[in-house]
Symmetry: C2
Subunit: 431 residues, 2 copies
């Protein structure tokens, strides 16, 4: 089954909004074995929308549109679908009733123009929108079916999951592909491709290394008969080959992995940050219930604050400056004791664009201090991308990921740095 | 001049990557008076790319493609453009030389397949890529001109700004529109539309309120003769009508505005965060040179940490819990003195999904403590969007924005809360 996406909205062509809906739809449909073969964005123009729907249905079996279902005069998707079907728009009394009720419940006044959201191309199916005002629509045209969804992401996703995806999956038959995304410790990125050569050679199996400047994600796709069953076996083999480098799958983000490990032992972590400014604490507080394992933290941006607030020895700072492995270790121990946690996690380094304490941009030290004052410090070699204005932000983000990975490794008793021959060569390669 | 965008890449259809390039291009072209009339995404398939280029040139004067210029067998844009022009690919000796040199300088070995990046459709123009390996291309076809750019964002933007935009702007003549985006304090969002009615009524002037859950951005577009000159006058009138609510324009983010205000007086701020977990510190450290004005901060996630680390009175916490205006004020004063800064900025509240200390989700108190122990505390009414999994993240993000806005207002000596009739009605309206 071939599906095309049609996103309607001037703001997308003008670049005011990035097309997150199309990305989500592409991913969701792919997970259900439905191929998105083209994705088009057009503006709020009736004739253009009508023409785009028509040409999409010359190529594909179904079209999913988002946007243009709101109450304003710029919202033209309903009109376009009515025109494409050669039918009038008809006011649906039940939709009108629900709309009036919803507006009244919110204590607001109904704008007359909003009643357009109760109009439906004659004969079209209405897709209930439990999360918003405008319903989705299903319009059967000679060339195929059009699903029209609201542009508000949460509403669009709800209608997709509840109504459209089940219909498309049924129409397409059993999924022809099964997918699984594994997430791995980035120390392994150069090693992974070598180790997984045998899996890449398997019939009907494809491995994709998903682009991300900070995280390593491997998507396994198995196509063919019993794709789901085969996928289980392939995933097991990949995990066996990569061992402890695999920390999770799908949406298992590092912060959740770390929280689970700490919670299982009734342990906590505190954070001491310099260049990251609070980003690690923000990651560790993203998950509801994180207060059980995240004790709190400090942003010790100035060198002297590392001494005054965390007890990093003054002579250490005087001799080496703030960017030094022993400083990372002392910061970790200091925040562990000051905030009060089982572990302290600390970062110090140079995000740029200027050097600091004689250290080049991208020099970062990450420390974990645990019970018995055990200290582990690493210095990840951050691949420095083509110089651009995003460098500072990229270095900060990569430091966050490396910090959470180090904490995970310490909690699992794994080597802090991968000492395999390939990883060493990789590090030298980057220097 | 009508331009269409064609983004090439399977990963975009699969939703692995969001189409940030298309958004940037749409914005950049619009700023130069060039309309993007359609944006299409296709996969890595030769025939599909050829057909998409052809149909785009039936509708538009120029097409800008991104992606498909890399060294792998999936990179088919060069081949597609050669096919569309009916010419062979020719190896450019100068490009080959520069490629070999670039690879050697990085201490790497040249993969034979990478030499594809030195191939050029015969007769095409080469657009130098100072930031990467693959050059851009300019191909003249019967229907119009095609600019092919690399997909790597930084490289694409460099070639656009250095080569393509100047060409397109020259071809289009003087820009027919001029645009300016103003950024305003969100306290004003309901008031803005009323106050700006007179501007909206001006001939050739359009105001757009750009969608963003946390910030209020107003884009002024003026079309017609002397658009740039008229824009100056319109902007001045908007600023006059909105007064101090306007805090900046274009990319003047709140953190930069706050840094400028503090730096001008040689003052500093420290942050104490609970529900935001470090996000405010992260904002205030995003800008290079922020150490001059950001002193550091604390993430006091647990209630007792607010007492132990910041000196919030224990009886206050015992009586009211951690979510209370006086707690926000005490946290702000405490971090100001503990970290050592001119101002302390603190937030306490309930990000959800569960209530805390009897307070509903979305209850947030923000405090600023300054010299002479002046304290200002506000409780923004956070519009709670349709319940969805993003709620916690949205509440945290909006709290960050409100916190920086409060600090700005305190620094400028403005009312912490807008007491106008409309703003009060707006607050009641949201309750």
């Amino acid at each position: 089954m071939r599906v095309e996406l049609l996103t309607v909205g001037d703001e997308l062509l003008l670049g005011d909004t990035v097309n997150g809906n199309a990305a989500w739809l592409g991913r969701r449909l792919a997970d259900h074995g439905v191929d998105v073969t083209r994705s088009v964005v057009v503006g709020d123009e009736l004739d253009v929308i009508v023409a785009a729907v028509a040409s999409a249905l010359e190529r594909a079996d179904a079209v999913i549109t988002t946007g243009g279902l709101g109450p304003t005069s710029d919202d033209l998707t309903r009109d376009a679908l009515a025109a494409a079907a050669g039918v009038p728009l008809v006011r649906d009394p039940e939709l009108e009733r629900r709309l009036r009720e919803r507006v009244a419940r919110a204590g607001r006044e109904l704008q007359p123009m909003a009643l357009r959201m109760a109009d439906v191309p004659k004969g079209a199916g209405v897709l209930a929108n439990s999360a918003g005002s405008a319903p989705g629509l299903r319009v059967q045209l000679p060339g195929g079916v059009v699903y029209a969804l609201p542009g508000v992401p949460h509403e669009m996703r709800t209608i997709m999951d509840e109504v459209v995806l089940p219909e498309l999956a049924r129409a397409a038959g059993l999924p022809a592909v099964a997918r699984r995304t594994l997430r791995t410790d980035r120390v392994w990125e150069s090693v992974v491709a070598t180790k997984l050569a045998e899996v890449e050679a398997m019939e009907g199996v494809r491995l994709a290394y998903l682009p991300d400047p900070a995280e390593v994600k491997i998507r396994i796709t198995v196509a063919g008969p019993d794709a789901a069953g085969r996928l289980e076996g392939v995933e097991a083999r990949v995990r066996e080959l990569l061992g402890s480098a695999v920390y999770g799958a799908e949406e298992d983000t590092l912060d959740r992995v770390v929280h689970r490990l700490l919670a299982a032992r009734g342990e906590t972590v505190a954070t001491a940050e310099s260049l990251t400014g609070g980003l690690i604490g923000a990651e560790l507080t993203a998950m509801p219930g994180s207060s059980a394992t995240y004790a709190g933290g400090m942003v010790t941006y100035a060198t002297e604050a590392k001494h005054r607030l965390l007890g990093v020895p003054a002579d250490l700072l005087a001799e080496h400056g703030a960017v030094h492995p022993d400083v990372a270790g002392a910061m970790a121990a200091g925040v562990r004791d000051t905030v009060g946690a089982t572990y302290g996690l600390a970062v110090t380094g140079v995000a740029g664009p200027v050097t600091q304490d004689g250290q080049p941009v991208g020099t970062v030290y990450i420390g974990v201090a645990g019970p018995g004052d055990s200290r582990t410090v690493v210095s990840p070699k951050l691949p420095v991308p083509g110089a651009g204005p995003e460098l500072r932000a990229v270095i900060r983000r990569m430091t966050v990921v490396h910090a959470l990975e180090l904490l995970r490794r310490v909690l699992l008793g794994l080597d802090a740095e991968d000492e395999s021959e390939e990883a060493q060569a990789d590090r030298e390669d980057r220097d």
